[in-house]
Amino acid sequence: MIALKRLLNEACALLVLSAFAIPAVAHEYWLQPTDMPWLVGEQLRADVRNGENFVGDTLPFDPDAFARAGLISENHRLALNGRLGDYPAFQMPLQETGLHLLLLETTRRELLHEQYSDFETFLNYHGLQGIAERHRNRDLPDQGIVEHYYRYCKSFIDVRSPTPGKDQSAQSTQSTQSAQSTPDTPPAAALAPQMQRLELIALTDPMQGNTLQLQLHLEGAPLANRQVELFHRDSESAAVTRTLLDTDANGLASFDTAAPGQYLFNSVTVLEPADTSAHWETLWASLTFHKSAPSLQ
């Protein structure tokens, strides 16, 4: 009962935090494919978005801002081509059925927190209160806090044959492989880790099942006790909910993904930068996908 009360208190506290203290600097950055269903032979179009709670501006293809980008499927790894100013930023051919992974990493960006309170708001929003103490211990300034940050984005799409029924066997085969992903059956290429500095790895096919287990990696190793945020936008009501979980000792966190709609997972970690021109370095991982209602699958 005490545990339940504590949980309720925490929930209430987080509700208050979310409702009244959404900080200006807590901008998620994610990939949002459009024009579903995605069919072989058609062009994938995906926006790069920057905002909060699924409300965000689209950003253009930007060769100076993109460090690594492409589309990964079972038999193909395609680089992203584009011209500065292209909207949507991702326009790529779909060549086969099955689970695909869009990937994007950005170059280094710089942010100035004019006041410590701005920085603190960002830390609180992402469950990074421990950084505040380290900030004091490192004797860093209360004003003009310089942060370097990098984005590591992934997005899953399920590509189907334009001819109904043609892709059923391929899909079910792959789904079975993905879901089981035992040592004997390697996971689908789209589910394989991509060695992003901060990476959200789906351990099962996110289109299958009612639960999705994620593993958060920092520099290739599981990152324990780090907050992962899930934003879910309901297909029908368009209501957005934000759910928080901390990774366990193995960097794992399991989320309820039964409901149809759009899913955006986000996690942030803060490092002491090797480069002395900034006080802190932050890495942002995001992972998105859309889950159709069962009748539409």
Binding site: A3, L7, E10, A11, L14, S18, A19, A24, V25, A26, H27, Y29, N50, G51, E52, N53, V55, D57, T58, P60, F61, D62, P63, D64, A65, F66, A67, R68, A69, G70, R77, L78, A79, N81, G82, R83, L84, G85, Y87, T107, R108, R109, E110, L111, Q194, M195, R197, F231, R233, A238, A239, V240, T241, R242, T243, L244, L245, D248, S254, D256
Partner: protein, 261 residues
């Protein structure tokens, strides 16, 4: 934490946040102008957040939470149906056009301005007012045959813009300044730079398309639009020359320094 407890906490912590959407972050997105020349006419296809132009909020770097008169006007415009927004545009048009300076780069500033007119406007339905709406304005300017380069500048309150001249118009070869971003693992993350310059047009290789990011209020490099005989350099009909990344999108990073983009 057991999985049951974890699931329970997950349910408890799922909170409605959809009411928190707003107009924030719209000023981050640059407009895009695709510029082409056909005979004596320069056409500019301007993809833009029209509401931000009319409310003149595009150049702001204010904090998201700051309420400004422009933000309120933006919200009102964003809710308008296409016809009503076009009416607002027509009323604002003379201000907009006087705030855009398309100049003949080869003559003195005093007599360089090329008069622009609005040919067509395309405004999408209202849709989700939490998202920016992309309208397309087709602007046009008459140019004399001897003009060989133009520059672009608009008022800072219209925000940043990406200029993209169509490469070597009316020519078979169409180098469109495509960049390939690969999937190779980035072992040491590269830094966005604002000093990178694409000098391919000046290095004797095939001329590249002109592509340039402009921070609010800045003037572009000259975009070459010269009519050259087919026997000219490289057999180019219209030569487009520019330092395509002189300011670079890295400039966006500088401009956005107080915003996370």
């Amino acid at each position: 934490m057991s999985s049951a407890t974890r699931l329970f906490s997950l349910m408890l912590l799922a909170m409605p946040v959809s009411h928190m959407s707003g107009v924030q972050a719209h000023e981050l997105r640059p407009s895009v102008a695709d510029i082409s020349r056909s005979g004596q006419v320069v056409q500019i296809e301007l993809s833009t957040n029209l509401e931000a132009l009319i409310s003149e909020m595009g150049g702001g770097e204010h904090d998201d939470s700051t309420e400004t008169p422009q933000a309120e006007q933006y919200r009102q415009l964003r809710a308008l149906a296409p016809d009503a927004l076009e009416t607002e545009l027509r009323q604002y048009l003379s201000t907009l056009l006087s705030g855009i300076s398309l100049d003949d780069a080869t003559v003195s500033v005093a007599e360089s301005r090329l008069p622009l007119s609005l040919e067509t406007v395309s405004i999408p339905q209202v849709g989700d007012t939490g998202q920016a709406r992309d309208s397309v304005l087709l602007l046009q300017a008459a140019v004399a045959g001897d003009i060989n380069a133009v520059t672009w500048q608009w008022e800072a309150h219209y925000g940043s813009i990406i200029l993209r001249a169509q490469a070597v118009m009316n020519q078979a070869s169409r180098d469109t300044d495509v960049t390939s971003i690969g999937l190779d693992i980035v072992s040491s993350p590269k830094t966005s730079t604002n000093s990178k310059a694409d000098n391919t047009a000046d290095s004797g290789s095939a001329p590249s398309a002109f592509t340039q990011y402009l921070p609010p209020g800045k003037r572009s490099d000259p975009m070459g639009l010269a009519l050259v005989s087919s026997a000219g350099r490289g057999g180019v009909a219209y030569l487009v020359i520019g330092l395509s990344a002189l300011l670079g999108i890295g400039a966006i990073a500088l401009y956005r320094r107080r915003k996370r983009g």
